[in-house]
Symmetry: C2
Subunit: 164 residues, 2 copies
């Protein structure tokens, strides 16, 4: 049960009065994120669901992943917004697995995603993982039981390693 | 204070009566390891010391890293042999840092290296990191105080991502 955890690409600085959720990828962020997604596809990455934060810079990143062939059209998952409800996602994932779902990709924000990875791998947050913009982590989640504290960490990739 | 943790490449199966320490890299292992080391050099990786396990498959890997331009000729460090004394290395590293030493690469074996990374990042071993042969982890160690439980994890790279 593979889980790819992908941070959104480089986004524009907020304009005065603009909600944080409306910030979009910069031209460079778009280009780099697309190169990363294409490299992941070339490495054989394939998922059955792409869940994304509703924030624009994340959903744009998720669409880029879809366009590169990594998986189906993204689905917005509220738990992936900054400060979202982690437990809500755990419940979703366990149902997904129990219904026969396969590999999943999550697209969201720091520090949340790093904390989620730590919860899955070590069962608690220590704020020790550096997940760069357009960076990717890969976890192997268990076939049975709670995924919390029982995942293995296989990848922690900065974008420059994927697309230099 | 960067620390690169590198697992040896693919080695030959042991021949009857051959000590484990004498196994050498296969032709494929040599080629793949060299490609990884060259990619690391292209990414700008530079260290001031390469410490290696005395086992041949590790010291060959360390020499390949040197030949690719990553750092000076490797130095054998007994703590890096399988089941080696982790505390001995911590003492070495703290002295190295206190004398003004910079980035270091370690070349050794699993599961030891994964456990060392976990000790540095989380302070304890949980056996949760997958470090492939010729795979690389990168940690940022603190400028002061004990490195145990106070490092950040920046990379966990399988070789296929570095040299496909």
């Amino acid at each position: 049960m593979k889980l790819y955890v992908i941070r959104h690409g480089i986004a524009q600085e907020p304009e005065p009065g603009q909600p944080d959720s409306q910030r979009v990828l910069t031209k460079e962020g778009y280009k780099k994120t697309r190169a990363v997604a294409q490299r992941l596809a070339a490495l054989g990455v394939q998922v059955e669901a792409i869940l994304t934060s509703p924030y624009l810079r994340a959903s744009q990143t998720a669409v880029i992943c879809h366009e590169a062939g990594l998986g189906p059209m993204p689905v917005v998952h509220e738990a992936l917004q900054p400060g979202g409800d982690w437990q809500q996602w755990v419940t979703w994932w366990q149902e997904w697995r129990d219904q026969g779902g396969g590999a999943v990709a999550l697209v969201g924000h720091q520090p949340d995603l790093g904390h989620w990875v730590e919860r899955l791998v070590w069962g608690e947050v220590r704020d020790k993982l550096v997940l760069k913009k357009a960076g990717v982590a890969l976890l192997e989640l268990p076939e049975q039981g709670s995924p919390v504290g029982s995942a293995q960490l296989l990848w922690l990739l900065p974008p420059k390693v994927l697309a230099d």
